[in-house]
Symmetry: C2
Subunit: 453 residues, 2 copies
């Protein structure tokens, strides 16, 4: 059995190196939505994997390639690590206190786009491996890495990749790309992920913008068409009016509700962190809020654009307007089916002039929260955080866990270095360096306990 004291000491000794490597990784932009720096980042990831002795392969997909890597261990048990090397776009740039691709350490935190989501997690896994190799000279289990480049654009090609490599990716447990502590510093394990259907709705009513004085009384206005079409999809009661949308939604089980009941109140901290005055649907604290946050599907406008958006006024009637909209899905909703329902809804409501572009989708998927692998991941946290992980039946977020769960039939657990103020997908994304170290220590234990599991 691994000497965890020695492993923890090895981790502590290497923290400067770990931060340096993380900084190098974050300095390399890799914005999949904009196709920026993707090849360079994949190569950098391969390089740092090879430095540990990993056998690496850049495996092509129809989009950005997957970095696959493996390193054998002393047991026949295999831990699969899913991560991604792409990041969200850094905009709006003016809200960053330091440039997004110039990693900066302030007050025990490192700031950069991708420092938490997901480059910090790549380094977390590697630093655990470094420490285990230093102390034991070998790994307790086989490690397989799948590091994709399209997570931030809904992983359009990962399902096919997994389907084509079921044998290669075979494993006994899968550690997911994210995770972290809640507002009380308690680490949280998510036993599933909601699905997502990401659509762009576009309207074009004319071949060019017109003067609003000339045309305001008689021309169709793309921005108005878009507003009315959106309002037809969801009203201010937050009810999604797309016929059939809720049909696939499975309600939480009794066991789910038991897990939810054990979770702490987080509403006060959420409100404080995000400067939110009230929740929607009149929700307050309690299990109802938690149930809603996880088990209700959503329709979120992620972006709106039309006409003149500069300072002051411009009297223009826009010919084009578009919205980015994501739907978070609950088992057994299906993203492609949702896209079809939205199309049918818009046609029914007289909005056949609204075009839909399917920007990506992921099916929702869950692992049984009582699965032994998940229970091992949860309980092994206690030594580091002073408490086992809180098992949550599903995350509000999404990810491509469906092919892992359904095709590889591997239990998927989350454990990571995030915290409520990590600002993933937002300006000033950051990690707490102390939590990175804790995450490395926890990861080393998970790898070690795989041997005995």
């Amino acid at each position: 059995m691994t000497d965890f004291k020695a492993v923890d000491a090895a981790i502590a000794k290497r923290m400067d190196q770990n931060l340096e490597e993380l900084s190098r990784l974050c300095a390399q932009p890799s914005i999949s939505a904009q196709g920026l720096g993707m090849q360079e980042c994949a190569e950098l990831v391969m390089e740092i994997l090879r430095q540990r002795g990993f056998k690496t392969e850049l495996m092509p997909t129809k989009g950005f390639p997957v970095v696959y890597a493996e390193l054998p261990g002393r047991s026949d048990r295999t831990l699969l690590l899913y991560n991604h090397y792409d990041v969200q776009p850094p905009e709006p740039l003016e809200l960053w206190d330091s440039p997004p691709f110039e990693p900066t350490i302030r007050d025990g935190k490192m700031y950069a786009r991708g420092v938490s989501d997901d480059k910090g997690h790549i380094i977390c896994r590697l630093a655990a491996i470094d420490a285990l190799l230093e102390v034991d000279g070998e790994l307790p289990c086989n490690i397989k890495f799948v590091i994709e480049g399209e997570e931030e654009t809904s992983s359009p090609n990962l399902h096919a990749f997994v389907a084509e490599n079921v044998e290669l990716l075979k494993a006994d447990g899968c550690l997911w790309e994210f995770g972290g502590v809640n507002h009380e510093g308690v680490p949280v394990l998510y036993a599933g992920l909601r699905g997502i259907c990401y659509l762009q709705l576009s309207v074009e009513t004319a071949s060019r913008d017109a003067h609003s004085g000339l045309a305001g009384s008689i021309f169709p206005n793309a921005a108005w068409r878009l507003v009315w079409a959106l309002r037809s999809i969801k009203g201010s009661d937050e009810y999604i009016r797309v016929s059939g949308f809720y049909d696939g939604v499975r309600p939480p089980t009794e066991r789910d509700l038991e897990y939810l009941a054990k979770l702490p109140e987080s509403s006060h901290d959420l409100k404080k962190t995000y400067g939110v005055r009230r929740f929607i649907k009149g929700l307050e604290d309690g299990i109802e809020l938690r149930k809603e946050a996880i088990f209700s599907p959503t329709c979120t406008i992620c972006g709106l654009t039309a006409g003149y958006q500069g300072p002051g006024s411009k009297t223009v009637l826009p010919a084009k307007a578009s919205a980015k909209v994501d739907f978070r899905l609950i088992p057994d909703q299906d993203p492609e089916e949702v896209a079809e329902l939205v199309r049918a809804h818009l046609d029914d409501e007289g909005f056949d002039d609204v075009q839909i572009e399917y920007l990506g989708g992921e099916r929702p998927a869950r692992t049984d929260p009582d699965d032994p692998f998940l229970q091992m991941v949860a309980s092994s946290a206690e030594e580091i955080y002073g408490t086992p992980m809180l098992v949550t039946p599903m995350s509000g977020g999404s990810g491509p866990n469906d092919p892992f769960v359904r095709l590889l039939k591997v239990p998927v657990a989350t454990a990571g270095i995030g915290y409520p103020d990590s600002r993933a997908h937002a300006p000033n994304e950051n990690i707490i360096i102390d939590l990175l170290e804790k995450g490395i220590r926890h990861t080393a234990r998970i790898m070690s306990l795989m041997e005995a599991s």
Copy 2:
């Protein structure tokens, strides 16, 4: 009486000079909405006025200053010329075939931001004066110029300027800053302008953007709030749902309808020019379309902005969203009153989280289409265009004619160099050089006929 043959010859001879001067004026950006190049442009305008012997004065307002200029003529009659030296923002830049501030001549047209609206009209008036001075050695009437710098931002300070200078601005007729020919090449005179109320609606639901997975089920979304608030203002039936909004609207008189009946069909050309497939409210050709285009007030979304607007997808729940909205007003609607009605409406509908910023307003105002000055302007066009001007009771567009009509009690006529494809406020704004020359010839006749009127 002026020898118009000689005047026309003088105009023809000077066209190259006129275009050169227009080009120089357009090369100087003067974007009032963004505060770009305003002082430089005002000084350039003063310089070219002084070259003609005008006494000029840069008169301060609370915003950008007014260029005032006067030149006496041989009669005691006075023609007031209202123009503006500011232009609309040039965005979207990528849709211009040549840079907006690098005036370019192609196929008998000059392209530049402001070449029609309104720098071409300034040059039109000056070129007429040049020709009259060359032929007669003096002007037939006194000329007063009011050239403001805030027309494109709803002239917030012009009303006060006129009110403070009623004696200075006294005149017998006022020639407005725009005008031109319709789809059939027939010049059109507008005997009034609709008013405008320009509002920015903004919502802020949180202090920062959130991850749509974390927050989609429970946080308010600024973009959704905006969409619902907008939909509450106008539904897809195009009816404006703000209580009291239509109260001030005076229907057209019998005489207005007579004038409307004389106007030609323009629906086919409008559709073709703007690539519009259908009009709103099921309108087709005919007097109903013309009546609607002019005598119905509007609510136009000029711009929408929220969240992520770049390529691909970003799963963000926006904390802020805003819309630019203009209302075109009919006598006797009042822009400030409309802003108050919208505020009350949003409060009533539960949208007190939607902030309103009043970006500018102008009252609607009309001159009697049978006024002798207007009839002179209309009939004097015949020699140049082969037809008198078509008198239209009101323009769909807006402008600050209210203080001229109400405070100066001067009849206001439009006559200009525009045409249906001038693309004012849009990319590739342009004039037809031949129409500029015609406009100069017409302006010279109007000035000359002022003497006898």
